[in-house]
Assembly symmetry: C2
Homo-oligomer: 318 residues x 2
C-alpha cells in the first residue's frame, strides 16, 4: 500500500471491467440537460451512484428518437451495467438493442403501466403519473370556476409525458362537462419562446380562455412573460398553472401555480434501485413518486363580464 501511494498507482478500470464482467458504470440518456428538471435528476442519480463507486455516463438526444438510439448504442459499447431511459416512447431499434443486449433498463419519468408500448420489454419504471399532473391542474382550475380553458404543451409526438399530461387534463375537464377543443391545445417547442407563442395563439381564440395549463414550468414562465408583454393581468384576467416547480417558479412575480415533481428524489431513487438491482439481482418494482399541486396567487376565479369586454377591446388593438 505504501508503494501504491508513492507511485500513484491507479487500477486500470478497463482491465478490471473485462475480468469482472461489469464496469461499475450506468448510462443515462435524457432528452436534454438544458431543462433544469433533467439536470437535477441527473445530479440526483450521480450523487447516489458516486457513493457506491459507480460512474454515470450521460447522453442527451434533444428529443430525437434516432439520436437516442445512437446514444444508447454508444453507451452499450462501453459495457455499462444498466441503462436509464426517460419515458417509454422509443424507436423500434432502441427496443431491439435492449432486447438483444439484455442490458438492465430502468424507465423513468413515466408511469409505464398506463402506456401503450410498441414492443413489450420487461423494463421496470420509476416515475410520475403524468395523467395525474394534468388532472390536478384541471381540477384546480375547474374549482376556481373556469369554463374556457387552454393548454400549451410540448410536442406530444414521441413524448409520452407530454401526451399524458394533455390526456389527463382533457379527461378531467370532460369528466366535469367542460370541453377542451383540439385547437385550444397548442403544441410548442420547450422553451420560453414556445410558452410565449403558445399563449399568444390562445389569446386570439374566441371564446378566449381564462385559464391555461402549461405542460411544464418553462412553457408556463414563457406564457407568463408573454402575458406581461400583452398587458394581460395574471391572475386577474388569466390563470396559469405549470408543472415541475422549478426554483424560479416560486420567486417570480406574478406567482406561478404549478405541480411539484420531485425530480432530484427521482434521480436518487432511480440510482438506489439500480444499486439494489445489482446486488440482489432482482429488478425493482414499478412505482410512482408522489406529486402535489402548489397553488400560488396566479390562480384566481375567472374574470367578470366587465373584464371580459376589456379583453375584446385589447384584442381589437392587436
Amino acid at each position: 500500500m505504501h508503494a501504491v501511494t508513492r507511485l500513484g498507482y491507479v487500477p486500470d478500470g478497463a482491465a478490471r471491467a473485462l475480468a469482472l464482467g461489469h464496469a461499475r458504470m450506468v448510462g443515462a440518456v435524457v432528452p436534454t440537460l438544458d431543462n433544469a428538471i433533467f439536470a437535477r435528476a441527473v445530479q440526483g442519480m450521480q450523487s447516489t451512484l458516486q457513493e457506491s463507486n459507480y460512474q454515470l455516463l450521460i447522453a442527451a438526444h434533444e428529443y430525437s428518437l434516432t439520436a437516442e438510439t445512437h446514444a444508447i448504442r454508444a453507451l452499450l459499447e462501453r459495457s455499462i451495467d444498466a441503462l436509464v431511459l426517460v419515458g417509454c416512447d422509443h424507436s423500434f431499434e432502441t427496443w431491439e438493442l435492449i432486447n438483444t443486449t439484455r442490458v438492465p433498463v430502468l424507465v423513468t419519468w413515466t408511469n409505464v403501466k398506463t402506456t401503450e408500448r410498441i414492443l413489450s420489454i420487461p423494463a421496470p419504471h420509476i416515475g410520475f403519473d403524468n395523467r395525474l399532473v394534468g388532472k390536478l391542474a384541471a381540477e384546480h382550475l375547474l374549482k376556481l370556476g373556469h369554463k374556457n380553458l387552454g393548454m400549451v404543451s410540448g410536442f406530444t409526438r414521441h413524448n409520452d409525458r407530454a401526451r399524458h399530461r394533455v390526456e389527463g387534463f382533457r379527461t378531467a375537464l370532460v369528466d366535469a362537462g367542460v370541453r377542451l377543443p383540439d385547437d385550444y391545445v397548442i403544441e410548442q417547442p420547450f422553451g420560453f419562446d414556445g410558452g410565449r407563442s403558445g399563449l399568444n395563439q390562445l389569446m386570439q381564440m374566441r371564446p378566449r380562455p381564462t385559464a391555461i395549463f402549461c405542460g411544464n414550468d418553462v412553457l408556463a414562465l414563457g406564457a407568463l412573460f408573454e402575458a406581461q408583454s400583452l398587458q394581460i393581468d395574471v391572475p386577474q384576467e388569466l390563470s396559469i398553472v405549470g408543472c415541475d416547480n422549478l426554483p424560479i417558479s416560486s420567486q417570480i412575480t406574478p406567482k406561478l401555480s404549478t405541480v411539484l415533481l420531485p425530480t432530484y428524489d427521482l434521480g436518487q431513487q432511480v440510482a438506489q434501485s439500480l444499486l439494489n438491482w445489482f446486488s440482489t439481482n432482482r429488478p425493482p418494482t414499478d412505482r410512482c413518486l408522489p406529486i402535489e399541486l402548489v397553488v400560488r396567487e396566479t390562480s384566481l376565479p375567472p374574470v367578470s363580464e366587465s373584464a371580459k369586454s376589456r379583453y375584446k377591446n385589447n384584442a381589437r388593438d392587436e
Copy 2:
C-alpha cells in the same frame, strides 16, 4: 456483418479499451449541474464528443475540494482519456493525482495565466477572463455615474472564478478612484436565497449602494427578487448587473444587465480541443473566449438627492 446485426452483437468496450490503451471516454468534474451554466457547458461538451464517438463521464462536487478529489480518482480508475476541470483552485491531492497519472487535463472556465497556482502543472486552459467580467461591470456602472457600489459574490475561497470577478470589479473601481470596502462585498452561497440575503445586507449599509454587481445571474436574480420584495425600484433606485446571461435573464422584468458568457460554446470548444489533442498528441493552446456586456434597462444613473431622501425614509420603515 449480417450475423452481427442478426445476433445483436455489440463490441465489448472494456476489452477494446484494454487492448487499445484508451477508452474513448473523457471525464468532466463540475461544481454542480444545478446551475444552468454548467449544465449547458456539459451539454456542449457531450454533443461534440458524441459526434466523434467519445463518451462523457460526469461528476459534481458541490464546491467541495475533497469531494472533487474523490470524484477525480473515481474517474481515473475508469481509465479516461482526458479530464476536464473547472477553475484552477484544486486540492494538493488533486494535482498529485494528475501529476502521477499523467492524464491529459484541460482546465476550463478560467484564465489560468492570471492565477497563482499551488502546484505548477502544465494544464492548458480554455476559459473566460473572470477579472474582465468584474471590470466590464464596474466600468459600466461607473459610466452611469454611480459612486457607491456593492457586490454580492459567491464564496471566493476555493473558487478562483468568484475571486477574480471580485478582484476585477474592485480594481476597476479603484482605478477610477472609487473605493469598494470589504463589507460592501457580501459572500453568499449560489442560489436565489443567497442573492436575496446579499441584497438585503447591502441595503442596510450606509451609505447605501446605488449599484450592485452580482457574481452570477442566479445571485443577480435573487437580488432582483429581493429588491422587488423590499419595494426598491430597479433600475430607478438601484442598478443591478449580473453575469452569465441565463435565458431567464433576458425575459425577466425588471430587465437584468449582465455579462454574457458563451458557456455552450465553451463546452464545444473544450471538447473539440480534446479531440485535436488526442489526434495530434499536442496539447491545445491556452485561450479565453470573448465575453460581452449586455446592457438592459436595469442600469440607470444613480438617483437624485430627492430620491435619496426617500431611501432614508424607506430605511426607517424597515
